[in-house]
Symmetry: C2
DNA sequence: CAGGATCCAAAAGGATACTG
DNA sequence: CAGTATCCTTTTGGATCCTG
């Protein structure tokens, strides 16, 4: 069972805050976000957990960062990789299932939901 | 954020053991499984957690049971509802993502993986 | 600004035994 | 057979403060 692809994938993305972080990185035109920007927008997350999740997501290849050193203080810019963008599509399937079977939510019926922007 | 469909859906299906249970219920021709049958096949799960998860899944409408009383001792038969079956399709998307981006797994490349049978 | 360190509370889950 | 009950360990994450 531990060798199952679904199991292993869920161990990456099934943790608390992971999906909100991915969605926040997906939102808007600007696809790069700074650490504190994420901390502000992912409401309720603490810096510790955000840091831990970002490391995990980088390790797993869904997120990358680069450190802009032209201006001080340095800023870390996080963005979705191709696999990260692709995972947002899976999240969209989760959302479709939820709206179909469970949650009547007029927000989510709009093409861009204000909660998750997908 | 707590009002987000994705968030709420993940609270239902994101818990440990939930997906293995759903997949076990999906497997094979016989779509009804007894409690101890599930306990045996979902390797490693304890009766307590299995019981808790089955209640959750019934509450959320993904699983139903009926108790056969013609033979004693009584047997509980668990099976996927329509929404439960439909969620398996979401799991298939998760699997596709995993095999595409993360895990080369010859098992999972087959149409029926021996771990999850999807 | 970006994050690491600490300490603590709560939750989740495992082991095991037990019962109608 | 189908769970419940109990106890305990582990994990997780929250709060907060600190630093280069």
């Amino acid at each position: 069972m531990k060798n199952c692809t679904v199991y292993k994938t869920m161990n990456i993305v099934g943790k608390r805050w992971t999906i909100p972080i991915l969605l926040e990185l997906y939102k808007g035109e600007k696809r790069e976000k700074h650490f504190n920007e994420l901390k502000r927008k992912v409401v309720g997350i603490t810096p510790k957990i955000l840091s831990v999740r970002l490391v995990e997501l980088q390790t797993e290849g869904l997120v990358e960062k680069y450190v802009g050193s032209s201006v001080l203080p340095e800023r870390s810019n996080y963005f979705l990789t191709e696999s990260g963008e692709d995972f947002v599509k899976v999240i969209q399937e989760i959302k479709k299932w939820g709206t179909k079977w469970k949650f009547e939510n007029s927000e989510c019926d709009r093409s861009l939901c204000r909660y998750c922007d997908i």
